[in-house]
């Protein structure tokens, strides 16, 4: 069967599965809609958290980023997994014991303040929209690459699917759909990874192949990579280019940010008991770790393959996959010195993304009209190719290509759905129910949540169709702001009985304002100054959330030390959430 037909079949089958699950698990009450009635088994919850967490970026782009940055890519590997340790030990069990529906609800109640709750809601909505915009774009891109439809049509199909199961099923529908999506994603990621590991090292387990010798030589994969890279003028793969302090701060910001992201935290509200909340974190990280330990191996294999087969090869003798992906626009070659041979080295070959003229040159290459840079390198490689082209590079059959398409869609859709749910919950529960219309009936609240989800999907879709130029820049925002706001406030709320309303609000404001201004300054006001010479202590905007978090802690403790201690019933509340006993079902209110 033709690959294209297979792709339609596999993607169609997975979509039918998601919709089937949504109909089977539709939500009838706000408790089902917000937290799946707190009845989700830890293993299912772990898988759902994994799917929710691993976005299109993790699935498609991460291995590519590591492939091109080597050691520097470790910040994502450690940062996006280490946060779960903090979650499991510092947040999840206590928030589950608290037993409500949302993060702003905890903030508002623990700090006996509607102001704190509203500040929290605004952060939740901002962080979640930032994230979801990228996901919808991801859906569109996967559609356009594999299903040969326009990106915008892809976004609209994606919106329709998410609308169906998020609006109908709420958290319950989303959770069980995500379990299915996790399975699709992992299968799609592991099959090509195992094949390419076998191909390069002869070892079927990528994590082990990563440290093995390249087949037919006595050199390890990493030695070979270092050798090949330095020959072409790159840094050693196992060495980084970022400063130690920057790597430290970025990793910390990603870890703490992960633990502070509302769509991740809310997962731990859905388990039946405190015990299960802890276990869920364990399963979630285990399921995430499978992909996160495979990704760096895939990165190294793909890089080895690229460096052995492309540089200093005549264009006419390049492997077949090169032409396929040149047609897709993910690789491009500009023959700067007119020798017909591909030169590859550090730097960009030309300014910006390739702009194809629509005609072919004397060797059959697609002519690129971009202005060349002074660098000698002639090759443009999109980082996404490291995952997308793997099945072809490894010579795998068409059904594997189809799997990758389904997996990429599963990754983007599952993350988008989780985020949209958090947005709709914040609007219906934290704004409407608690602030504007406290007497709203449960039925109306549920309707409001569904309408909010629908509106959020529309807005997210518009972001996907007309992507704001700043999407890539604002990812730093989501993690930085979560690190500088939610994490310190929640941790102090649990671990300190003395932390009061004034301290928490001061801390959030200081942390947010500082982080926000730093990122806005370097990313939007003076992007030309965005380099180590101007950064404070050499910390990039990606890592500044860590400093924001430290300032949050300092400001909160300072203000709390000379203002009134929290009232007695709050101190009892803290004592109560510290012990597991008595965590019942969702508290109705």
């Amino acid at each position: 069967m033709e690959t294209q037909t297979l792709i339609y079949l596999v993607v169609g089958a997975t979509f039918a599965l998601y919709i089937g699950i949504a109909i089977w698990s539709r939500a009838g009450s706000t408790s089902e809609y917000y937290v799946a009635s707190k009845g989700v088994h830890p293993i299912a919850n772990g898988m759902a958290t994994g799917a929710d967490w691993m976005s299109a970026a993790s699935f498609i782009s991460m291995a590519g980023i590591i492939s091109f940055t080597g050691y520097d890519g470790s910040v994502y590997l450690m940062g996006w997994t280490g946060g779960y340790v903090l979650l499991a030990m510092c947040l999840a069990p206590y928030l589950r014991k608290f037993g409500k529906f949302t993060v702003p609800e905890f903030v508002g109640e623990r700090y006996y303040s509607q102001t704190a709750r509203v500040v929290a809601v605004i952060c939740v909505i901002f962080i979640s929209f930032t994230y979801v915009a990228g996901q919808m774009r991801g859906v569109g891109i996967v559609f356009s690459r594999y299903l040969e439809v326009d990106i915008n049509v892809g976004v609209i199909i994606g919106m329709a699917i998410v609308f169906f199961y998020a609006v109908l099923g709420g958290m319950k529908g989303i959770t069980y759909t995500q379990v299915a999506q996790y399975c699709v994603m992992m299968f799609a990621y592991m099959v090509p990874a195992i094949y390419i590991s076998l191909l390069i090292t002869g070892n079927p387990i990528p994590q082990l192949g990563f440290g093995s010798t390249v087949s037919g030589t006595d050199m390890s994969v990493l030695e070979r990579l270092n050798g090949l890279g330095t020959e072409l003028g790159f840094n050693e793969y196992t060495d980084g280019t970022k400063s130690t302090i920057d790597v430290f701060f970025i990793t910390m910001a990603l870890m703490v940010g992960t633990a502070g992201l509302p769509h991740v935290i809310v997962r731990f509200f859905t388990t039946p008991t405190v015990r299960d909340a802890r276990k869920s974190a364990g399963y979630a990280l285990l399921f995430i770790a499978i992909l996160y330990t495979t990704a760096p191996a895939v990165a190294a294999f793909a890089r080895t393959n690229l460096l052995t087969s492309v540089p200093n090869t005549a264009y006419t003798e390049l492997p077949e996959w090169f032409e396929t992906w040149e047609t897709a626009g993910l690789v491009a070659w500009q023959d700067k010195n007119d020798d017909g041979v591909v030169q590859y080295g550090p730097g960009a070959p030309f300014v910006g993304a390739p702009n194809f003229a629509g005609e072919t040159g004397e060797y059959g290459q697609r002519i690129v009209t971009n202005e060349p840079t002074p660098a000698e390198t002639e090759l443009y490689v999109d980082r996404d190719i490291m995952v997308l082209a793997n099945p072809e590079i490894a010579g795998l059959p068409g059904w594997v290509v189809a799997l990758i398409a389904a997996g990429g869609l599963a990754a983007a859709l599952s993350t988008a759905a989780g985020l949209l749910l958090v947005i709709s919950t914040s609007v219906s529960h934290d704004l409407l129910k608690s602030n504007m219309m406290p007497n709203i009936s449960e039925k109306k609240e549920l309707l409001a949540a569904r309408i909010a989800a629908g509106v959020a999907i529309l807005i997210a879709g518009i972001f996907g169709i007309y992507p704001p130029a700043f999407v890539a820049q604002v990812v730093a925002f989501a993690f930085g702001l979560a690190a500088a706001s939610f994490f310190p406030v929640i941790v102090m709320g649990i671990f300190s009985k003395k932390m009061n309303k004034e301290g928490a609000i001061a801390g959030m404001i200081v942390g947010l304002t500082f982080t926000f201004s730093y990122i806005v300054f370097f990313k939007f006001i003076s992007p030309e100054m965005d380099n180590a010479a101007y950064w404070w202590f050499g910390i990039s905007p990606e890592g500044i959330g860590t400093l924001g978090m430290i300032f949050n802690f300092i400001a909160a403790v300072a203000v709390a030390s000379f203002t009134k201690a929290p009232p007695e019933h709050i101190q009892h509340l803290i004592e109560d959430i510290r012990v597991p006993r008595g965590a019942g079902a969702a508290v109705a209110h």
């Binding site: 590591i66 050691y71 890519g73 470790s74 590997l77 450690m78 997994t81 280490g82 779960y84 340790v85 903090l86 499991a88 030990m89 510092c90 069990p93 994590q207 082990l208 990563f210 440290g211 093995s212 010798t213 390890s220 994969v221 990493l222 196992t238 130690t244 790597v247 430290f248 990793t251 910390m252 870890m255 008991t273 405190v274 015990r275 802890r278 276990k279 974190a281 364990g282 990280l285 285990l286 770790a289 996160y292 330990t293 760096p296 004592e575 510290r578 012990v579 597991p580 006993r581 008595g582 965590a583």
Partner: protein, 88 residues
């Protein structure tokens, strides 16, 4: 020995904090220590075909994180029972 409810809660919390601190020290040591601050020193050591620091940054720290959470789960379940604050 029967503890009053408050004493039990206090003892439970103290032991919980101490244990959490130990695990967080390990968490910090494998990632920020071995994977970042001392990566160059450790890279001089070979470990199953990897420079050791690089292995910690891209593999070892993640395995350790998973192990840490499961040790925490196991230990806390015992602690819950010891102080009789477990869920029925």
């Amino acid at each position: 020995m029967s503890l009053s409810k408050e004493d039990a809660a206090r003892g439970y919390w103290k032991e919980n904090l101490r244990f959490m601190l130990i695990l967080l020290v390990i968490w910090f040591a494998v990632s920020f220590g071995a994977g970042i601050l001392f990566v160059d020193e450790l890279d001089t050591i070979r470990f199953f075909g990897f420079p050791l620091g690089f292995w910690f940054a891209q593999q070892g720290s993640i395995y350790t994180f998973v192990a840490l959470i499961w040790v925490y789960v196991w230990k806390m379940n015992r602690l819950d029972r010891k102080y009789d604050v477990h869920e029925e």
